[in-house]
């Protein structure tokens, strides 16, 4: 029974991994679309963090499922840990630099196709 389950898992593993990779890539594209369309710098930062967390996690889970051996799984896990330790630090550094330089965030509800005069883009 258990061996059957393990066999089934090994059969289905590459497909599951590919599906996770595709999911992660789609999440990444969604985050990037957010980076393109959000109106000011601070809101773009939030969209970029989707890539860093959900997209990277899904992609790396997919890679781990497709891995041929434990060494590869360990490498994937190391990349994941590094991304999760460094990406908030980098985000905070960028946000802090912008804040210190005096970049003012947009505050209040935005929506319904308003055009933001500061960056001159369609919302």
């Amino acid at each position: 029974m258990l061996t059957d389950a393990i066999e089934f898992f090994h059969l289905v593993r590459p497909w599951l991994g590919g599906a996770f990779c595709l999911l992660g890539a789609v999440l990444t594209v969604i985050g990037t679309a957010g980076v393109l369309r959000f109106p000011d710098f601070y809101t773009r930062l939030h969209a970029a963090s989707i890539t860093d967390t959900a997209g990277a996690t899904a992609l790396l889970i997919g890679m781990g499922l497709m891995a041929p051996g434990w060494v590869v799984v360990a490498k994937v896990a190391a990349i994941w840990v590094f991304l999760f330790l460094t990406s908030p630090t980098a985000s905070h550094a960028i946000a802090n630099a912008a804040h210190v330089a005096g970049l003012e965030p947009l505050i209040g509800r935005l929506g319904r196709g308003e055009v933001d005069p500061a960056s001159g883009e369609e919302a």
Partner: protein, 160 residues
Amino acid sequence: MGYFIGLLITLVVFWYTMSGMNKPLILSLGAVSVVLTMVLSWRLKIVDKDSSPYGRIVQFLLYWVWLFVEILKANWRVIRACVKADLDINPALVKVKTVCRSDLAKTTFANSITLTPGTVTVSVEGDKLLVHALYEEDAEPGAFDEMDRRSAWASDGGGA
């Protein structure tokens, strides 16, 4: 000294996991790299209590599991905001007071806020954090209390 032994064990395990080979040449290169790294970190004086919390690994792992669930929940909102046809966001800049005392606890708390999509720590001064949020509802007073308590528990022990 205990911190250096912890660093040594971490580096050896890391090297061996990354290479996975047993040839004498590779192993001796690894030994040289480990010694070089330890000498450099000794000269830079970066090995101290805050940078090597080996005694709290279990707490940090538990905290990480909790944080990961929170991150997934927060991701959903931001993803919806990204793909909605009309832009519907409500950014806000709020001050958050923390109960964390040590630098390690503050770093954990600020990084957790940044890691959660929808909120970013903009600056840290003393025990006050300036947080930018994509939705004002996510950053109302008290919204970060649980994260604050848990990160204080994970890195300082006890908590408040």
